[in-house]
């Protein structure tokens, strides 16, 4: 008897519902599956912990300023000093820019900082009164949602739809502007926005560079920041400190375990029916 062929043309001596031995022979499962190991995933989760710590740290600083336990001038001076130290470290980490080009870059950075500080200081009376008329509970709700948005949209290195560095930073700064209106003075508002910019825009840039150059040191910094934030949260509220610790523990230890468990059960189906991927770089034609 003639063999069955996987062809639509020509008559075959088989019924139309014939199931041949070759049926689903082209089926492939879990092609290009990434295999994760537990501890590397735990280490990778540090980027999320860093952002959570930054958000909680910002919340603590704002709460301390609101209660009068921390002066705006003191915080501004400390944050400025810290920013300078981090900037110098950032310069040391990267490829050394010697000569005129490096000097130009540093001069540009200094100019940008000067302009930003001047403008923020000039507009701080506006920022202070901008959301003053909105009720406090609405301000808190908006700030919480914006900070959650900051955490969700932050670029952790994953290629997903919701990632948007620009949106993330804007959400962080918007929450700072909202909270600034509840502080006692114009200088408090100015300090809040400056600190928010450092924590939400500049600090992640430094951490990214640190992680690329010294992953071990990045982990040390993450743990240090986490401990500092947890201790400072204890100062504000025991409940918050516990919640934060549990959340971080879940993200660092439970979630990676969950990922690995689910990964073992993964069953992606591939075959000739899949839409082909265009692997060519067509930018030269479509430029």
């Amino acid at each position: 008897m003639p063999r069955w062929r996987k062809a639509l043309f020509g008559r075959q001596r088989f019924p139309d519902n014939h199931v041949d031995q070759t049926f689903l022979s082209d089926l492939r499962t879990n092609v290009c599956l990434r295999h994760y190991r537990y501890w590397p995933v735990v280490c990778e989760s540090s980027v999320v912990v860093q952002q959570l710590s930054a958000v909680c740290g910002f919340g603590v600083l704002w709460r301390l300023m609101l209660g009068g336990a921390l002066g705006a001038e003191t915080l501004f001076a400390h944050s400025l000093a810290m920013a300078l130290v981090v900037y110098l470290l950032h310069q040391l980490l990267g490829p050394r820019d010697r000569g005129p080009q490096g000097a130009t870059t540093r001069w540009m950075d200094l100019k940008s900082t000067g302009i930003f500080v001047a403008f923020t200081y000039g507009f701080s009376p506006v920022l202070k009164t901008l959301t003053e008329s909105i009720s406090t509970d609405t301000i808190y709700a908006m700030s919480v949602f914006m900070l959650l948005g900051y955490i969700v949209c932050f670029d952790y290195g994953a290629d997903t739809v919701m990632v948007s560095s620009c949106l993330s930073v804007n959400m962080g700064l918007f929450s700072a502007v909202c909270l600034a209106s509840r502080l006692p003075s114009v200088f408090h508002a100015f300090t809040t926005v400056c600190v928010a910019l450092q924590l939400f825009a500049l600090w992640p840039v430094f951490l990214k560079k640190l992680k690329a150059c010294y992953p071990g040191l990045h982990l040390v910094v993450t743990v240090t920041v986490f401990v500092l934030v947890t201790v400072s949260l204890l100062w504000v509220s025991l409940g918050f400190a516990l919640s934060f610790s549990i959340l971080v523990f879940t993200i660092v230890f439970v979630c990676p375990h969950l990922l690995l468990t689910l990964q073992r059960r993964k069953d992606n189906i591939h075959g000739p029916w899949d839409e082909a991927e265009i692997k060519d770089d067509l930018s030269q034609f479509l430029g």
Binding site: N17, N268, W273
Partner: protein, 454 residues
């Protein structure tokens, strides 16, 4: 025949339903097509050979597919199925919500059901996951499933978790009278023309085409491209044409009517298909029927469609497609190809709608011998086959559907619904020359304002 996709809309599914219906009418069956209203085209229409088409007033949601709540279509569909004394419901296309509705209601009415899947789906993205779950629900108690290619069968069996013996493979076909070669053979071989007829969308590989055009135009000064079709990727082709100054060698014809496709095809020597996924690909059969040498990407069901000597299959990359086109160009230049007429006759013998109808009839015969699942067994199958969550949800919907049907039967009993005059079938009164008044003479007239189209 039930689907959202039917004339005046144009496409593979539409043409399949029409041609299959015509051949089934020829074989003495009574066939009724149910689709949604297209603009002012509502109510009942008659097409060639008295093919009766119901255009139901259902709201279109997206891409010619109707919005569905499952229940809102039951009164209308029940009315049609009872009026026409339908014994078997044949639904077409996974994209058609009316098709899924009809299958669901047919089972509640105790009718046999067949489903034809015309497309391929992935498994990973969210839309595919949801569509596949819906398909599993629709097909778990459908009597039989038809696919248009073996690859499509494998895909459907996996998507809907079906027994492969319940799935038949019956391909599409081509109407040989619509796609005949150019009188006097192929055009002048000194200027070679590559024809592309497709919707200009991503999944048809238009980005690949944009990479091929400048590469080959640079290499072959006598090569021209003739591109028919419309879509969002047209701008990409226009950019390429502009960038490489190929206005005299790349013609974009825009949207084509079905009747004009043949006239475009016969202007070329080579037909290029760059699809990234395809269940069957009617276009390559039509092109081969016009005597063109076919070059295509090796995706989906395409390798099953034409014999190796009529098609050059390539991996979906610019490099391999260029190589494939170059070998086709060499064949043209050397004159080693069979004549256009010979290729046409060969394709005509490989694919015919009469053969498709004959094979579909065998499926119908098989289905009529099977028992329709009673409601208790149907619910059990839904719950065991479709997963603990979806199974229970759809079992509940099936119960509600049956209860709604009981209510409709109480409100308007089946025997009150007037039986339509059979335009076609054993007792069909349709005559090609006669007008609608003849139908009036033979009995009750349909309540809708019917218009005749022959």
């Amino acid at each position: 025949m039930v689907s959202d996709f039917f004339y005046p809309n144009m496409g593979g599914v539409e043409s399949h339903i029409y041609q299959l219906s015509q051949c089934l009418l020829e074989r003495g069956h009574k066939v009724v097509v149910v689709t949604h209203a297209y603009g002012r085209r509502r109510g009942v229409r008659y097409l060639t050979r008295g093919l009766k088409v119901y255009h139901l007033p259902l709201r279109v949601m997206y891409n010619q597919s109707t919005a569905t709540s499952l229940f809102h279509s039951l009164p209308l569909l029940r009315w049609v199925l009872v009026r026409e004394r339908v014994g078997l419901v044949h639904a077409h296309s996974s994209f058609s919500s009316m098709a899924h509705d009809a299958l669901f209601h047919a089972k509640a009415l105790g009718l046999r059901s067949v489903f034809t899947d015309h497309s391929l789906f992935g498994f990973a993205d969210v839309s595919s996951v949801l569509t596949n779950k819906l398909l599993a629900v629709s097909l778990c108690d459908t009597s039989h499933v038809v696919c248009v290619s073996h690859t499509s069968k494998e895909n459907t069996v996996l998507r809907a978790a079906l027994d492969p013996a319940r799935v038949s493979v019956i391909p599409n076909a081509v109407d040989p009278t619509d796609f005949t070669p150019r009188a006097g053979g192929r055009p002048d071989p000194r200027t070679l023309t590559v024809v592309v007829v497709s919707r200009l969308v991503y999944r048809k590989g238009i980005d690949l085409l944009a990479g091929i055009i400048p590469e080959l135009c640079q290499k072959y000064p006598n090569l021209h491209f003739l591109i028919g079709g419309e879509g969002p990727k047209r701008i990409v082709l226009e950019e390429v044409r502009e960038k490489y100054q190929l206005h005299d060698r790349v013609r974009l014809l825009g949207a084509l009517e079905h009747k004009d496709v043949r006239n475009v095809l016969v202007q070329g020597h080579i037909f290029l298909n760059t699809s990234l996924t395809e269940a069957f690909c009617m276009a390559i059969v039509e092109a081969a029927s016009c005597g063109l040498q076919v070059v295509s990407t090796k995706v989906g069901g395409v390798p099953e469609v034409l014999p190796e000597d009529l098609i050059i299959l390539c991996e979906p990359t610019v490099k391999f497609l260029c190589e494939g086109l170059e070998s086709a160009i060499k064949r043209q230049q050397l004159g080693t190809l069979p004549s256009a007429e010979a290729i046409h006759n060969r394709v005509k013998s490989l694919y015919s709608w009469r053969n498709v109808a004959e094979r579909t009839e065998k499926v119908y015969d098989r289905v009529t011998k099977e028992m329709v699942l009673p409601i208790d067994k149907r619910l059990k199958r839904l719950m065991t086959h479709c997963g603990p969550v979806a199974g229970c949800i759809f079992a509940l919907i099936a119960v509600l559907d049956v209860l709604f049907l009981f209510f409709l039967r109480w409100l308007v009993p089946d025997d009150i619904i007037d039986i339509a005059v059979d335009a076609t079938g054993v007792k069909g009164v349709w005559k090609q020359q006669e007008s609608f008044s003849t139908i009036k003479k033979h009995g009750k007239t349909p309540r809708n304002n019917c218009k005749v189209q022959t």
